[in-house]
């Protein structure tokens, strides 16, 4: 595969992720509403929100510091950078060498911490409450993420996500370990997206809220893309145009199904802040058990 094609695929991937993030959010909201017996907002409502926010004046508090805008920009930038490193419809894109899961996890945590700093900057009570919830969600993500990474690395022998998906496409790990790892990703994804949304509403307005909202939706899409990659069929190398179309369709269907499942789960479950630590703990436990199973399997083999 030529470098130009790799760069082109990365650009297509970036455009798809940026454009699909609000749509996936719309699907999640719609599914959550349907699960609660309501009709819910239209699928394009998040896009309409973005357009509406872009027309509103951004209000900056008088007590804001010079850190507020850079932190907000960093939160968006780091989320986008992380999303570029997670392969969606094919492997071997221009950023494949850099798609290290340790770096992706670190970027996600750094993005959230930057958002927390921006939210805490004005020193107001309401934004501080939401920022506290975000802060704990960011910190609690780390143990589960590292254990999940360890389990995946045990199964595939690498921490590079692109190579990891390739190895999983060739040989699947034992069913027990794979199920536990999927459960861990699902729990972490649920917990991570659970804490995100309401926290930013009180702290930002206008373009700032646009950036924060889009970053949160992109983050949710990143989790779903990661989960979709782990579910067979894994994305393959771009051998032909048909293969690319096939990979694109598989990614879209998997993400849509997962978004509906995620939304339905969120709609059926009662939303409280205290669920986030429990879900994070469940994710970490699932990943730990998957790792233990893999160690035992390796010895038996």
């Amino acid at each position: 595969m030529s470098d130009a094609l790799a760069v082109l695929l990365l650009l297509v991937h970036a455009a798809l992720m940026l454009a699909a993030a609000p749509l996936v959010q719309g699907a999640v909201d719609r599914a959550a509403s349907l699960a609660q017996g309501r009709v819910g907002p239209p699928l394009l409502q998040p896009w309409r929100e973005l357009v509406r926010l872009s027309r509103k004046t951004t209000l900056v508090p008088g007590t804001a510091s010079p850190l507020r805008q850079p932190a907000l920009l960093a939160a968006s930038t780091l989320s986008i950078t992380a999303s570029l490193l997670v392969p969606s419809f094919c492997r071997g894109m221009a950023g494949a060498v850099l798609s290290d899961l340790v770096a992706v996890g670190g970027l996600l945590v750094a993005a959230r911490l930057a958002l927390v700093l921006a939210a805490l900057d004005d020193g107001e009570a309401s934004s501080g409450l939401g920022a506290g919830r975000l802060l704990h969600a960011a910190g609690l993500l780390q143990p589960g993420w590292l254990l999940l990474l360890a389990a995946l690395a045990l199964a595939t022998g690498t921490t590079n996500l692109d190579a990891m998906l390739g190895a999983l496409g060739e040989a699947l790990p034992p069913a027990g370990a794979a199920s536990l790892a999927l459960l861990a990703v699902l729990a972490l994804a649920l917990a991570d997206s659970e804490a995100a949304e309401t926290a930013t509403l009180d702290a930002f307005s206008g373009a700032d809220l646009l950036l924060a909202s889009h970053a949160a939706w992109l983050r949710r899409l990143l989790w779903l893309t990661l989960l979709a990659g782990l579910i067979p069929p894994a994305p393959g190398l771009p051998a032909s145009l048909f293969g690319l179309a096939e990979g694109l369709a598989a990614w879209a269907i998997k993400v849509l199904v997962l978004a509906i499942a995620l939304g339905a789960t969120q709609g059926l479950a009662r939303r409280t802040a205290l669920r986030v630590p429990a879900l994070m703990g469940l994710g970490a436990l699932g990943a730990l058990l998957a790792g233990c199973l893999l160690i035992a399997t390796q010895r038996a083999a």
Binding site: S54, T57, T58, L59, V60, P61, S65, P66, L67, L73, S76, T77, T81, L84, V97, L98, D100, V102, G106, L107, V109, A110, L113, V116, L117, L120, D121, G123, E124, A125, S126, G128, L129, L135, H136, A138, G139, L140, Q142, P143, W145, L146, L149, A150, A153, L154, G157, T159, N160, G206, A207, L210, L211, A284, L288, G291, I295, A296, Q298, R299
Partner: protein, 640 residues
């Protein structure tokens, strides 16, 4: 004369010049003698800072050029002359100490900490250069006592008891040849070797303030630099002793040696980060983060031992490279944090988080420096701390695949501990920065904080730039680490030799393949510029507005910055984790707690305060003078 020999002579000069005036100054500080006119602190501090800077440059030269130099002094025990060796490993570990002490001498207000910092510099140089077991043991004991004296712990009784026990154990290196022949691993299957291993481990743990020894939680007067620097250097000093005794000195360590470092390191890292998460004073949060860094380094030592026991030299090199890189970054980050803490305490009048706030408006340089140091300590991407953590994690994952099931499970649990530590430290770092520097001031003193002196600001900027450089180009740090690997690992010498012949199998495989921070940073910059342009061109311009007060009543006129109690504070940002965390993780038992020794010290502490303070001051000078007298007066080989 080689570069190493010149650097060794320079270091000895620095050590002597730093140690002797400090030694002479200690009785004066203790109140026994009037302070001599020649020991006025400011010139002493400036001179020591310049000398430490020169010595740091010499260490860099040794790391670049390579080579080792040994000097045998005509002093010491009969049959055991004092030997001092400078090699790339020693140079690498001395580098952050020299830089840190030079920086703190420059940044200390009016040079007040010169005597303490000078003594710390001299003993650190002696500890790291010591080539023989008695000198190493003596230096370890003296360093531990000095650290305990400088830090003035908050719980003097327990801390003093632990200090004395730790000092006894720190002398373990001196006993190693007696216990196990010539080296700790002279015969790795004997009981004597196991005892030597245990003693060496306890010596390192006591120096690094790791479990079972209590965390160094100092109670510092505002603006005091030396105690904070002492706490920051403990992880490096303890790890240096452990690496010397367990990794460099052992020919073939057995596999069980890795168990204790992995387990203790993971628990200590999580415990340190948890302490940082719940504490409400800057200095105590720093102490917690120091324990976290020391724990992570100990896990690296365990991984290195496991790789060496499994006969995997490349994995051992990878683990040791990660350990050293992580240690250097953590030490620089802790030093930056200590200096920023001291500046904040000096200018804003308090180290309590609930009396600070909004300092980014009054002390912008200090706040940005603090942010860089905290981000590095939390091992966020594109910071110096991330590179070492990344290498360490790669080594852990590789060890899990290569080791036996029990060892693999232990490594997996260590990764869980490191993950918890990373998460807690990220929360603790964000909480510290947000409460200290963002929002509105919580006290009139914080609202009226003034800029720290120019040398302090320059020092903070220099340290932050160094950390930033290491974060964006970790390969530079790795180039300095590789010669140190060759000096510590017996198989590293051949690896480095292969590398210099052109094949470079070691350097290439140790390089940060798969993680290119500069590329990531470039991509992030492009995205940020595009986003900024998009927002500016498509969205309306921002307008300043009064923030909604959340429905609360207006504050009275005598609260010009609003009611500071309404904003998020240290307690609210620690909740609910502070309640979920098990208490034993936050308050690890300080050993010995109820032993006869502890009771003895409790009785000692009940004496009248004046007498107790006086006797405490006399302990260290007396010991130091006795030790140096022994070193200088006992000619080598006198008994032969």
């Amino acid at each position: 004369m080689s570069v190493s020999a010149l650097a060794l002579i320079l270091l000895l000069t620095v050590g002597a010049l730093a140690g002797l005036p400090a030694l002479a100054g200690l009785p004066a500080l203790a109140g026994l003698l009037p302070r001599p006119r020649m020991l006025r602190p400011l010139p002493l501090a400036a001179g020591l800072a310049v000398l430490a800077g020169l010595a740091a440059a010499a260490c860099v030269a040794v790391l670049i050029v390579g080579g080792a130099a040994t000097l045998v002094l005509p002093l010491g025990l009969p049959g055991s002359p004092v030997g001092l060796t400078l090699d790339p490993f020693t140079s690498l570990l001395l580098l952050p100490i020299l830089l840190g002490i030079a920086a703190s001498l420059v940044a200390a207000p009016r040079g007040t900490a010169a005597a303490d910092l000078g003594a710390l510099l001299a003993l650190s140089v002696l500890l790291l250069l010591a080539a023989d077991a008695p000198t190493l043991g003596l230096a370890a004991v003296a360093t531990l006592l000095l650290l305990g004296r400088i830090a003035r712990p908050a719980r003097p009784v327990r801390a003093r008891a632990a200090l004395i026990v730790g000092a006894c154990l720190a002398a373990a290196p001196a006993l190693l040849p007696v216990l196990a022949g010539s080296t700790p691993a002279g015969d790795s299957n004997t009981a004597a070797c196991a005892a030597a291993y245990g003693l060496a481990l306890l010596a390192g743990l006591s120096l690094a303030a790791l479990p079972p020894f209590g965390v160094a939680l100092p109670s510092l007067p505002p603006g005091s630099v030396a105690p904070a620097i002492a706490v920051s250097l403990r992880p490096l000093l303890g790890s240096a002793v452990l690496l010397r005794l367990l990794v460099a000195n052992a020919a073939a360590p057995p596999a069980w040696w890795c168990a204790a470092p992995l387990a203790i390191g993971a628990v200590a890292a999580a415990s340190g980060a948890a302490i940082a998460l719940v504490e409400i004073r800057l200095d105590r949060i720093s102490a917690g983060l120091a324990r976290q860094a020391a724990g992570a380094t100990l896990v690296g030592v365990g991984l290195t031992l496991l790789a060496r026991a499994s006969d995997l030299p490349l994995l051992a090199a990878l683990a040791l490279a990660g350990t050293l890189l992580q240690l250097i970054a953590a030490t620089l980050g802790l030093l930056l944090l200590a200096l920023a803490d001291a500046a904040i305490a000096s200018e804003a009048g308090s180290q309590r988080l609930d009396r600070l706030g909004g300092l980014i408006h009054r002390l912008p340089g200090t706040a940005w420096g603090l942010l860089v140091g905290l981000a590095s300590l939390a091992a966020l991407p594109l910071t110096a701390g991330f590179a070492g953590a990344w290498l360490l994690l790669q080594a852990a994952l590789a060890a899990m695949r290569a080791a036996g099931p029990a060892s693999a499970l232990l490594v997996l649990l260590s990764v869980a501990g490191l993950g918890a530590a990373a998460g807690f430290s990220a929360i603790a770092a964000t909480r510290l920065f947000a409460v200290t520097c963002l929002g509105r001031p919580r006290s009139p003193r914080a609202a009226a904080a003034t800029l720290p002196p120019l040398p302090t600001r320059l020092t903070l900027a220099a340290l932050a730039s160094l950390l930033g450089l290491l974060g964006l180009a970790p390969s530079l740090g790795l180039r300095l680490v590789v010669p140190a690997l060759a000096a510590v690992l017996p198989e590293g010498r051949s690896l480095l030799a292969d590398g210099r012949q052109g094949a470079r199998p070691d350097v290439a495989s140790l390089d940060m393949v798969g993680f290119a921070p500069l590329l990531l940073c470039g991509a992030a910059l492009v995205i940020a510029v595009l986003l900024r342009w998009l927002v500016r061109s498509r969205c309306r311009q921002p307008a300043e507005a009064e923030v909604w007060d959340g429905g609360f009543a207006r504050p009275p006129p005598w609260l010009p910055f609003g009611d500071p109690a309404l904003q998020a504070n240290a307690a609210s940002l620690a909740w609910p984790l502070a309640e979920i965390l098990p208490r034993w993780l936050i308050r690890l038992p300080i050993w010995p707690r109820a032993s006869p020794l502890a009771r003895r010290f409790r009785r000692l502490a009940r004496r009248p305060p004046q007498a107790s303070r006086h006797s405490g001051r006399l302990v260290l000078p007396a010991l130091l003078i006795a030790a140096l007298a022994w070193l200088w007066l006992a000619p080598a080989g006198a008994g032969r």
